[in-house]
Amino acid sequence: MSKDIEMGIIKADKLVHEFIRRDEEGNVESITTALDQVDLDVKEGQFIAILGHNGSGKSTLAKHINALLSPTEGSLWVDGMDVQEEENVIPVRRTAGMVFQNPDNQIIASVVEEDVGFGPENIGVPTDEIWERVAHSLAAVGMTKYRKHSPNKLSGGQKQRVAIAGVVAMEPKCIVFDEPTAMLDPNGRKEVISTAHELNRKKGVTILLITHYMEEVVDADYIYVMEKGQIVMQGTPREIFSRVEELKEHRLDVPQVTLVADELRKTGLDIPAGILTREELVDAIMRLR
């Protein structure tokens, strides 16, 4: 595929990844298919969510986008670059940054600003510009106040914002969030999700949010639901949220508001499908009076 054909920033074509486990003699013991024929097409500037429970393959997908894993079959292009080409690895990582689940295990430095500078240092950014980028990135995630602090004294949400700043400082076009809220409390979760939205809105960064919390994806542009390595549902939040039974089958946690709306709809009340927020439901109910 050539670059001049209209192609999204991330495009996966029948992507397959198999984890092969071998015994001591090198014989194949078991093969786990973590990704099974995944097609994905993300346009620049979109906010995409990938939902799925643990073991659904969503993290494996994320690691491909950052060239941390290589496809067994199929292809993946990031900004037109084939991730399987050796010389593309670093450019791909500069284009698509990644924020991981555990905030502690991705902060390298003992001072916030030094950690944010780590990425730019690696890609050879000149010193003066590193300082500018660090200042910018910390401001973008609202952590300027803490630039001289030790990451150890920060809350989970704050640490995660530092990690985000560290990625932002590399000025990627796209950021993949791999379950960034799984280890955080409700306050921390809100901080991280709103930071992601802000980056998308203000800087036009393409966001891929991988999570198992449905309430975090309400504001996404498009949602993919994964199960057993496959994409089993896709659509806008409204389309996805209207398929309550299916979501339950995929062991997802449908928000209470959507559930109440669904219950009411089932009794024959005239309530639109795919209710996302409390306000919508209140309006819909009040209209029935």
């Binding site: 990644m98 295990n105 390298i108 030094e114 500078g117 690696n122 000149p126 590193i130 030790s150």
Partner: protein
Amino acid sequence: MIRDITIGQYYPAESAIHKLDPRVKLFSTLIYIIALFCFRGIAGFVIITAALAAVIKISKVPFKFMVKGLKAIVILLLITGVFNLLFTPGDITIWSWGPFKLTDAGISNAILMVLRLIYLILGTSLMTLTTTPNQLTDGLEKVLGPLNKIHVPVHAIAMMMSIALRFIPILIEETDKIMKAQMARGADFENGNLIQKARNMIPLLIPLFVSAFRRADDLAMAMEARCYSGGEGRTKMKPLTYDKKDYIAYILDSVFIVLVVAARVFVPFPM
């Protein structure tokens, strides 16, 4: 308890010592250690004490905080003290029992060794308290840079050290949590003889190792994702450059060591 270890921790503050080039601090620490082991006589001791006190004062690290770090080595201090006290031959024997002897030289040796150790810990922890691990490793990397020519992976060593220092507090906290989790299941880390104690550590060490390996794995991936690929082609956010205060510090270092040596030559008593 276990959280009280301050060696290797960084204490953020705005002080002249914090702002010094890490190479200066490394060199000064070296000078200080040499001075500690070669001084003789009360005059030398006074000079070292005064220098240490002055630097602690300037560094703005609370003295209380530093003393907390000493708690961790109380046992070591006691052992050193007792050994020196009981096994040093001397001119005047005050008391003896079997192989144990309490002599004048023993007493002064014990005092001297314990003081040396305390000063050593205070001085070196002052360096780590005022220098971020990254600065410290930057300094080491630069100082040891010439070794690169004989194929010593200086950058890799420096990076490993900086990561180790970043994770020490995290692993200490984790050790605390694991201990509590096992104590809740009736584990006993305090009683028993040495062999039992060693065996009792297994429920602590295994989860700690498993977790440390997992962290190492995660961290390696996170570093790769941020385009880390060794020292080549890297720039520095905080490149090391000397300025006036660093040269002044070097001069003060020289004055200090000259004074200690002079004290040793001219006033080598009462030790």
